[in-house]
Subunit: 370 residues, 2 copies
């Protein structure tokens, strides 16, 4: 890597695709023309060849090891993003089941998931935070799940609104718990045994866009009908170690490197959670210091450790904030186009220095303009 390349880099608060660890990018750069021992770029390797099969197996093994995932679960590496999971889940687990599926609605991504599920069967939206602008997640007792629900679905972290479940929602043991963990997967330890299925597109904490990790309890693999489009049937992927068709080889290679970085450089998911807590706290402390100036979106106990969302008192101040932050190498802070305001995403790969720099900038900006 040239010296220029690193000095040109900014702190990138993009909500996804998002920052990746610099050391991972450097390894990829070093290996780009020749993966060690392969005589070719990793992009040029047959997915059926020994070298790539090892890359894929190691990526899966790293994810299994980080969470301690048992062999009761298959770990699939798929294409199509969360958007395809919105459909695959009800196609496999709701369609023709004679049951209804329960959904907790806490933001924009849950809403899209519900829209797709309704095409496949009956959906009970048993909790919705729509009436308060998606600023919260449910507390115990806020909803009831029928014991014979096909599954209970929720989105653990809503990136657009910046609200996050601090732990799994209550769910009867008879009902498979399903989580869209696209934006907080690998950001903290999880007890996977609590889940029927948990999935994440990679482009927040886990890697580049183009690969989606699906962890599914093996008994659920039998639920999909042979009549489904083949790609949509989880069993096809599980039976073929995610090589039912050509997998997205380069994104999987990067995912594997990020998972290894989490173990070796960070020290695992508990250490990652601690660091993520520290980073997001730096931002929320400034928001709480200037409550009339930084208008936090999420209720305090539902705040996301991944995406801090807030607004400023005027559109002029909002523009000035984005513009001056940019001059300080703090980039991609604009909120989602549907809600506006500021969204600072501090996923795994955002270094502590980045959060510190933003917190310091926010403090100065409020002191000057508040």
């Amino acid at each position: 890597m040239s010296a220029t390349a690193t000095t040109e880099r900014v702190f990138n608060f993009s909500a996804g695709p998002a920052a990746l660890p610099v050391s991972v990018l450097q390894e990829i750069q070093d290996e780009l023309l020749c993966y060690p021992g392969a005589g070719a770029s990793v992009m040029e390797l047959s997915h059926r060849g020994k070298v790539f099969i090892q890359i894929m197996e190691e990526a899966e093994a790293s994810i299994r090891s980080l969470f301690g995932i048992s062999d009761d679960y298959a770990v699939l590496l798929l294409q199509g993003g969360a958007a395809l999971q919105f459909s695959m889940i009800p196609c496999n687990l709701l369609r023709d089941s004679g049951k209804s599926a329960s959904y907790l609605l806490t933001g924009a991504w849950g809403k899209k998931a519900i829209g797709e599920a309704k095409k496949e069967g009956t959906v009970d939206t048993i909790y919705s935070a729509a009436d308060t602008g998606f600023d919260r997640v449910p507390k115990a007792g806020d909803y009831t799940v029928k014991d014979d629900s096909a599954y209970l679905y929720y989105c653990s972290n809503e990136t657009i609104e910046g609200v996050q479940f601090q732990s799994e929602p209550e769910c009867p043991t008879s009902v498979p718990l399903i989580s869209d963990a696209s934006s907080d997967f690998l950001s903290r330890p999880l007890d996977i045994d609590k889940y029927g299925l948990i999935y994440a597109c990679a482009q927040k904490n886990a890697g580049p866009a183009g690969v989606t990790v699906v962890v599914i309890r093996r008994d659920l693999l039998e639920m999909g009908s042979d009549k489904l489009p083949g790609y949509l049937n989880y069993k096809n992927h599980a039976d073929n170690d995610s090589m039912w068709n050509t997998p997205p080889t380069f994104p999987i290679y990067v995912l594997g490197k990020v998972a290894k970085w989490l173990s070796s450089d960070i020290g695992g998911l508990a250490a990652m959670e601690k660091l993520n807590h520290e980073k997001s706290n730096l931002l929320y402390q400034v928001i709480d210091k200037y409550p009339e100036f930084y208008l936090g979106h999420a209720q305090v106990d539902c705040r996301s450790k991944m995406n801090a969302t807030f607004n400023l008192p005027s559109s002029g101040l909002l523009e000035a904030f984005v513009s001056e932050a940019g001059k300080n190498n703090l980039q991609n802070l604009k909120g989602h186009r549907s809600v506006g305001g500021i969204r600072a995403s501090v996923y795994n790969a955002m270094p502590l220095e980045g959060a510190q720099a933003l917190a310091s900038f926010m403090d100065d900006f409020a002191a000057k303009n508040g």
Copy 2:
């Protein structure tokens, strides 16, 4: 790039994912930590940001320019590979149409496509080369397409068997012609106006695994039902410039670079076709020189310019061929596990020198062992 990196590279005859142009890999390596002006790797860029939108628009524009694709067609960049297209095509164009779809069966990929189509409606396999082991494609008069067929589907190049349509099959103008061009897309000029839909996963001639190009006539976009899983409805992707959800950003970036290389370094698709003809001819000339030793699979007038498939007189000679070729830096020559033998893939990025080296090796090997 270090000097070591290039000297370690082999001639990679993989059937896909396959060789990429070295100059493209070098550009990617140079930009890996900082895409010019972005302060971040291309993998870290939001797909909604100006920089990535320009990358995506340029990739599409390059493909349009190479073929001269008119605005009557949408160019979509999707996930899921050819396998998902096997389903998306009949989901959008056959299901509930009241029509049947016509398929020409010339190899393993066509067979898989038919399997998926049968889930969605009535399929007429109006031509099959199964009885001669998929060694040929149909001639004029070998089949009849009903005027009211939903579409006529074929696979232009069957990689496993090494047979290729030298031009489009006959098709009534009332029937949309659909081609799986996964393994010869961008290898030669095409008159896109002849097609209703033509698609290709990228990992043969066009880029890395993880992105699939779909060129679809806009009137066909209206055929998909709103009841389809959203990702499977072509209209969603066309209406959102392939950003209905997060696209596979890095594979698209590489695809764009490969398309630019085709224009600027090769000189366009006619020049590419000439070079591909030259490369494959080198191999077929040796096969024809030793017809008792190199047992070509495809009938001569159906030979693929992408994948030369042949066997040797004994399994011992086959093993020796692969092993000695490997020692000469000629790699990944084993045929598909379903048919065995040798498959030498000489896609766009295989340099003439690679085909020359293989042809020369084949000549020597036959002279010594024949």
